[in-house]
């Protein structure tokens, strides 16, 4: 009996070790994920309010998403003087094929998002000033509101100034403000989804 016990323990041990070590199969990779956080392409679309066929576009692209390759701003924004434009966006993650429309997600969660702008002082007749990044209450032509009645900015109206401007700046910041978006929340509240600075020319 005693002998049996000895062999029993040794056998148990060896069995235990072999069971865990016998197979050397490949590890299964993680499942493919639908990346929702990454934005690779942002297109600004300025549409002339009086003539929908008059469209000005400007693109920013970060082709490798989170990788070390830097963002590139592909175009300047070239607007005409004294015109009214409606600004909308095409926001996408093109790391996936087909690409992901992030704009639709922002619309679905518009009570957590707000666009903020800063630009060369008095580049526009309306809104006047230099935008609302520095102070959220500064004038800005939001066309849309969320369910709580706060501005979103997926659509904004811009009346260019009569004076020409060359090599000005136009900065757009999309802030993600879950649970903290209020009537007074500003460009430093919440987290930045994108923060892009374009060269602005008004001729």
């Amino acid at each position: 009996m005693k002998q049996f016990r000895n062999y029993g323990l040794i056998a148990m041990t060896i069995a235990g070790i072999t069971i865990t070590s016998c197979k050397k199969e490949e590890v299964a990779p993680p499942a493919e994920e639908n990346e929702l956080e990454v934005i690779t392409d942002v297109k600004l679309v300025f549409t002339n309010a009086a003539d929908p066929s008059d469209v000005v576009e400007a693109n920013a692209q970060d082709p490798d998403g989170g990788g070390a390759q830097s963002l590139t701003i592909l175009n300047d924004i070239n607007l005409d003087t004294s015109k009214t434009y409606i600004l909308t966006y095409e926001i996408a993650n093109n790391l996936d094929t087909p690409g992901e429309d992030i704009g639709a997600e922002i619309l679905a969660e518009d009570d957590e998002h707000q666009f903020f702008f800063s630009f060369s002082n008095d580049a526009f007749a309306n809104p006047t000033g230099d935008g609302n990044v520095d102070a959220a209450s500064d004038p800005l032509g939001y066309n849309d509101q969320d369910d709580n009645g706060f501005p979103v900015g997926l659509s904004t109206t811009w009346v260019t100034s009569g004076t020409q401007l060359s090599s000005g700046t136009f900065n757009i910041r999309l802030q993600h403000q879950p649970g903290i978006k209020t009537a007074t929340s500003g460009a430093n509240d919440g987290d930045t989804d994108f923060d892009l600075t374009f060269v602005l020319n008004i001729q």
Binding site: T13, E37, D62, A68, H176
Partner: protein
């Protein structure tokens, strides 16, 4: 009067040997009148701390009578019928607390007192308590159950960080990792219940899921213990010992509750234990809930915690066999400071430059994003076979399932951003061989397997790939004793293979397979210089494979973008590129390898005890995270960090002085200092613990009225500023491009190391019948300060004053007469 101090079986004692507990048996008297009117009484002390030992089992050899020492270490056994008897003082309940389950024979360290005890003065019997084989020549500290019970709402790291040489690195009030001599994470091995705690051990934001209120004692070994415990024990080992499952232990029930003012936290525990002749069991359950903590001037929004734990164990013991089974479960929901979320360069600049956190809300128990949900389950079976008096074979098998979900502030808050399952299995076979050419030793083989799986549905590319690690190890440690010295030698071989499969952000699959074989060795020497002085020296090596985060991190995590060792390279024009995953075999990545030399001088006198530890540690291929560049991203300019390897050198000293000024007043002085250096690039390292000093005074009062005892302690500790911190570069300087960084740039940090700070803690405890109660106040002066090793120091102050009230009820059944 005859006194015979004898410590068990000699060879048994030898492999139990080290750190010294001694007992004073004083005022031992037997009164003589009627037949059954003899009595014996005495007191048992810990030689190290000079504190009385409560709950030490006292038995009489030829009588069913027996008992335990009370909370003051006193015992009294009355109603004895014989003048002649032998007294057995077993360390159950105390030594076991410290020794783990090493009293297999259940008759360890008995002291036989022969008859004719009339007027015995204090007698010092030097019993010795168990240190793990292969670590006996290394400096170590113990935290007893008593100390654990005084701070039930603390984390493991917070509890240990008061000890000399031990500090903690943290990501806020809930996520805290122990640091030993400047090293943390998977350079410190955490052995929970004899098993390497299998958890997501990477970065400073993953803390071990261990509820300290279930621990019986905790040992910190401050040297390289790679030989005994395996890779990763590079900087030291923390051993969390469970309930010892004592046999012949009458039913004991303990209920404890606690309430703390900061965070309006509550805590409760239940502990049940019983042992009969061949069986014993324990059950332990704990619950902690804490709301938002506060600094002296504001609420730390989203800093609460919820923790539940259950531990059970059973033991069966026969003459030669001992079987044990344990199960442990911990469930945690840990909040991370809301203001620490800064997912763009601008937000980070804003948060770092702001005096107050950017997000402050009224107090709440709610835990919102960012937070971590973890569940850890552990099952373990252990068989010990004492096939002879001088040898034993033990087999341990364990399985651990660690589930972790991390939530971040993002568009899909309802989905975890990290969702991992880590399955760890462990087999260990150890042989305490019989004495062989005067050598005592332990020979073991181990098989360790770990498999990590990303659960689908995070809507983000996994930060850590799926992987499977297998490790086969064999080790031997031998001790040779001489008259006043002993020599300890150890060697180990590990073979490790890793198989990895992950996703790139394009969702393309990458794979890698790599293996390492490593040999490590250690040598230690203990010299008893005089009656009161012992010198220990140990040179140990250890190694570890880079962890998966160090190898494969990719992209944004928190406020920075990080790239693992295999995810970036420099192209021909010295540009940082991340467009491919480099196979490990084609890279220059090597495992870390450490050489640690620790020396300890211990002077133990009746009133004073000094422990001086000096160490130096050289680590080859030391892996660290360093800022490297600023890149433009869609979220704005973002600091980029990469993992890098270098050779690093650490040197430091710890000192502790315990003094018994009078019978009732004692003091403890502690000092820690560490100097560290990046040898390759000749610059400082980052996130190293600053020097600290503390002084504690303890005033014990003996019983008054119906109170058994009370203890008041006052502790003041000063933590210095880190003089060795890297230069500071404000994030805005990087973002606006004023500063260009290259691969050769000197290391930097975003904020100056915080100023030194002084903290005052006061606590008071009282024992009354079955009850004990305590009030302990930390940061009594309500200091506003920031801690260099807390990642949240960029955003928020530390916790202000906190008063913790504890109340415990302890019931112990009387031992049945046979």
């Amino acid at each position: 009067m005859i006194f015979k101090g004898h410590i068990g079986d000699v060879s048994f004692a030898k492999w139990l040997i080290l750190l010294i507990i001694s007992m004073f048996i004083s005022h031992l008297g037997m009164t003589q009148s009627n037949d059954c009117n003899y009595s014996v009484s005495g007191m048992v002390f810990d030689q190290e701390t000079k504190e009385p030992l409560p709950f030490v089992k006292i038995k009489l050899k030829n009588s069913p009578k027996g008992g335990y020492t009370d909370s003051k270490g006193k015992f009294f056994i009355g109603g004895l019928c014989s003048e002649k008897d032998s007294l057995l003082v077993t360390c159950d309940g105390y030594c076991d607390l410290l020794c783990g389950g090493n009293h297999e024979k259940n008759e360890p360290l008995p002291i036989y007192l022969a008859q004719e005890v009339q007027d015995l003065g204090p007698v010092q019997v030097v019993g010795e308590y168990h240190k793990e084989e292969g670590t006996q020549s290394i400096s170590q500290v113990n935290i007893s159950q008593k100390e654990i019970k005084n701070a039930p709402t603390k984390s493991l790291a917070d509890l240990l960080s008061g000890q000399e040489g031990v500090s903690m690195i943290s990501a806020g009030a809930n996520v805290q990792l122990p640091v030993i001599h400047g090293l943390h994470g998977n350079r410190i091995l955490i052995l929970n219940n004899g098993l390497k705690h299998g958890f997501q051990n990477w970065g400073s934001e993953h803390a071990p899921e261990i509820d300290i209120s279930s621990a019986n004692s905790i040992t910190v070994i401050k040297g390289a213990t790679g030989v005994r415990f395996g890779p990763e024990a590079l900087g030291g080992t923390i051993i969390v010992n469970p309930n010892p499952l004592d046999l012949n232990n009458p039913l004991g029930l303990e209920i404890g509750t606690g309430f703390q003012t900061n965070g309006l936290g509550m805590h409760s525990t239940l502990n049940l234990e019983q042992g009969v002749e061949k069986w014993s069991y324990f059950l332990n359950a704990g619950f902690t809930k804490i709301g938002d903590r506060s600094t002296p001037s504001y609420i730390m929004t989203n800093s609460g915690k919820e923790e539940k734990s259950v531990n059970i164990g059973v033991r069966y013991h026969s003459k030669k066999w001992d079987f044990r089974a344990y199960y442990g479960y911990v469930d945690q929901n840990l909040a991370l400071l809301r203001s620490s979320v800064a997912e763009s360069g601008n937000a980070f600049v804003y948060a770092v430059n702001s005096d107050r956190p950017t997000f402050i809300r009224p107090f709440s128990y709610a835990i919102n994003e960012p937070n971590q949900l973890t569940q850890h389950q552990m099952g373990k079976a252990e068989v010990n076979w004492h096939y002879s008096d001088r040898a034993k074979l033990s087999f341990i098998s364990g399985i651990q399932l660690n589930k972790r979900e991390e939530y971040d502030v993002r568009r899909d808050v309802a989905l975890p951003i990290i969702d991992l399952e880590l399955l760890t299995t462990d087999y260990q076979l150890n042989w305490h061989h019989p004495k062989w050419f005067k050598l005592d030793g332990l020979i073991g083989i181990q098989v360790f397997r770990q498999e990590n799986i990303n659960n689908p549905g995070t809507q983000t590319t996994p930060f850590i790939p799926n992987y499977r690690s297998m490790r086969y190890s064999a080790f031997i440690t031998e001790t040779r004793k001489f008259n006043n010295s002993s020599l300890e030698l150890g060697a180990r071989v590990d073979y490790e293979s890793n198989s990895v499969a992950g996703r790139e952000t394009s969702q393309d699959i990458f794979r890698d397979d790599f293996e390492f074989t490593n040999a490590t060795a250690s040598i230690g020497y203990i010299q008893k210089i005089s009656e009161n002085t012992v010198f220990r020296t140990n040179l140990g090596t250890a190694w570890r494979t880079p962890n998966m985060a160090e190898l494969f991190s990719f992209g944004q995590h928190g406020f920075k973008s990080s790239f693992g060792l295999l995810r970036y390279y420099w192209n021909s024009t010295n540009g940082l590129r991340t467009d491919k995953v480099i196979p490990l075999n084609e890279s220059s990545v090597s495992p870390e390898r450490g050489y640690k030399f620790t020396n300890e001088l211990k002077i133990i006198k009746k009133k004073h005890q000094h422990t001086f530890t000096a160490y130096s540690h050289y680590i080859e291929n030391y892996i660290f995270d360093r800022p490297m560049a600023v890149i433009g991203t869609i979220r704005g300019p973002m600091p980029v960090f990469v993992f890098d390897q270098t050779n690093a050198f650490f040197a430091g000293a710890d000192y502790s002085w315990k003094a018994n000024w009078t019978k009732s007043i004692s003091g403890v002085t502690r000092l820690s200092y560490l100097w560290s250096w990046n040898v390759t690039s000749n610059e400082t390292l980052i996130n190293q613990p600053p020097a600290s000093i503390s002084q504690k005074f303890i005033w014990k009062q003996k019983g008054f009225c119906k109170v058994k005892s009370s203890e008041l302690s006052v502790e003041g500790g000063y933590t210095f500023t880190q003089f060795q911190a890297p230069r500071t570069i404000a994030p805005e300087e990087l973002i606006d491009g004023t500063l260009e960084l290259t691969s050769e740039s000197e290391i930097f940090d975003f904020k100056d190391a915080p100023d030194g700070y002084f903290l005052l803690n006061i606590s008071w405890k009282l024992d009354w019948k079955h009850f004990s109660t305590g009030i302990s106040a930390t940061n009594v002066l309500n200091q506003s300060y920031r801690d260099y090793l807390n990642e949240m120091r960029y955003f928020s102050d530390e916790i202000g004053v906190n008063v913790l009230f504890t109340f415990n009820y302890r019931f112990k059944a009387k031992k049945k007469s046979k």
